[in-house]
């Protein structure tokens, strides 16, 4: 910790520390249930190599729900505003240049959002905080990004899980997306990776991952850093993609690519027909009379 940061920490500590372990009564809460699924929205990426495939029509998509072909109500491309939840790792390993590059990259992304897009910011190291609630105003986001500091261990599992719970109750005409940035494996969560994957299946949020993987790093406690298998599964389950950064200097470009990819996705909607209403639904999306690699959520959970 440098002298300036040290002074800040001391001032912070001496300004505010009241540590309390308290017992408070929490209100008894009754369970409430969400209405069952009436309309299913499938966020689909169609790529030809590294190039998004544009110009596809409803008749180019074949969608099955638990094996039953469905009739699409609508297909839209690049017209639906984003509802973006940015979830950023600010653990100690990001301190210094890496954090500066992350902030720069995120500023670039925020400034590239369209006026109708909504964005929120969650940060995590050991504690998890919703720094900015969903807003169309860019100033609070820029201000929060500017003030980021990096310290502590990594609660990536708990952070993703809690971020998934913050998805819009009614997304309306928007596309809920969780964009995760992390540089390492979990070191301090309660939840395990399988918990998070299960929650991702149920959330309906599109999940994109940008992972910083640098070969020369050794993680905490002698654990070698390699791409996280969990983060790959997370992106697959969330119907999104994962990008690797070999250096934090690449982050600006990668976040730009992630945003472009989001703009080039199709949003398919259909009213499920011929399938049971509750439980897990396998969804498969294929193309007909068109070419491209399709990426979409593998299904959804209806209750």
């Amino acid at each position: 910790m440098d002298a300036k940061a040290g002074a800040q920490v001391r001032r912070g500590a001496i300004a505010a520390l009241v540590a309390a372990m308290s017992l408070t009564v929490i209100h008894a809460r009754q369970p409430t249930f969400r209405a069952s699924v009436d309309v299913v929205r499938v966020d689909v990426s169609v790529m030809n190599g590294l190039t998004p495939v544009a110009g596809l029509k409803p008749q180019n998509f074949v969608v099955t729900d638990n094996g039953v072909p469905q009739t699409l109500d609508s297909v839209s491309l690049d017209t639906v505003p984003l509802n973006l939840m940015m979830v950023l790792d600010t653990s100690g390993s990001l301190a210094g240049e890496r954090l500066a590059n992350l902030i720069d990259a995120m500023n670039g992304l925020v400034k590239s959002l369209r006026p109708e897009d909504t964005a929120a910011l969650m940060t995590f190291s050991e504690p998890i905080r919703l720094a900015v609630k969903g807003t169309k105003d860019r100033m609070p986001l820029i201000a929060a990004l500017t003030g980021l500091t990096a310290d502590g261990s990594t609660s990536v599992n708990d952070a993703i899980f809690l971020a998934l719970q913050l998805r819009p109750v009614d997304a309306g005409e928007s596309r809920p997306v969780l964009l995760l940035f992390s540089d390492g494996r979990d070191t301090s969560s309660w939840l395990r990776s399988e918990h998070v994957i299960e929650a991702t299946k149920r959330s309906g949020m599109l999940v994109h991952v940008v992972e910083l993987v640098a070969d020369e790093w050794m993680g905490t406690r002698g654990v070698e850093i390699r791409p996280s298998a969990f983060l790959g599964t997370l992106a697959d389950t969330g119907g999104g993609r994962r990008w690797f950064a070999k250096s934090s200097r690449d982050l600006r470009e990668l976040f730009g690519k992630a945003l472009n990819e989001l703009r080039a996705r199709y949003l398919l909607t259909y009213s499920p027909a011929g399938v049971s209403r509750e439980g897990w639904h396998d969804v498969k999306v294929t193309l007909t009379n068109a070419r491209g690699d399709v990426t979409a959520r593998p299904g959804y959970f209806a209750q």
């Binding site: 002298a3 001391r10 001496i14 017992l23 409430t32 809690l162 913050l166 309660w190 939840l191 406690r221």
Partner: protein, 351 residues
Amino acid sequence: MMAIRTAAIVAVSVSTLLAQPDRSATEIYRAAVAEYLKSGDAARAARPLAALGPEQLEPAVKAILSRADPRELEGAADLHLEIGIAVAGLSVSGGAAYFDQGSRLVNAIMPPPAIRKGVSALRLEQMTLISSTWHRVAASTLLSINDVARARSLMQRALPLVPKSAEILTLLGTASEIDAGVLDPDNWDSVTGKTHAGFERARRLLAAEQSYKAALESDPTYPLALIRLGRVQFLHDNIKAARESLERGAALAREPRHQFLAAMFMGALQESQNDLAGANHSYERALYIAPQSQHAVAAVVFVDLMLGWINRAEEVGRAYTSAKLDDAWWLHKTGAFDVEGLLWLRQHLRQ
């Protein structure tokens, strides 16, 4: 509602600093220690120290060490501990420097072996208790923020004084358990990676189990060792033994944080057995004890989700992530922080 205040250090007073332009760091520090000994108010005592980092305090620490006044040493060590705890929640590395200096101060309370014969057995026992408790609290602070390496270093300083301390042995086990938690074999794509992670995880869990069993040999009724042993047995898929250990530990637990951990670990066990209602009950109990625990929130929300209580899960998740971060958030998170030890040190200083 019951609240235990563990540290309260208030805003830097510019006027205080301006009023003392010519005082050396040593004078300011000694005055702060005297104030702490007199009032027991860490917040008030530490106020003039806001502008001084550990490096500026070093000459003052040396001065107090050379004076070798046991009461001043104890007051200075405890003040360092309070500041270290306060800073640790804001900066992992920040608190460590205060703990290093505090450790030197509290170690100096013990007379050198050559002159210990002249000290009464009762006094020696008191000194040992002060030093070992001090190191226990500092180590538990670092474990609460997952700084395992520094925590181990502090524990190793206390262990020679009290080699059979159930508390210290349990902390050593907790360090191994935290280290094991980092290694999830499923997080590796390669077979080599999975094998290595699985082997290392098992080795560290075994070390934790041995430490807890050693603690229980020293004190068979120490609830924290029983509860933590139950956790490790659960991680080893020894469900029956785990349940027994957790139930025995919970029955013996009187401290809120021990009850909290028993509830969390029992919840995990119940969840693994698909007893979601039981898990929900246990996690809710943990959340009741420590409403700000991030772990308890995550656990409750997940089980709510599995039970189909989606709106409720979202409500709890939103409330937690949107609330202002308590400066002491980390004290509630893992249940590792030794609040009882800190209270004992404070009480001893008052006597």
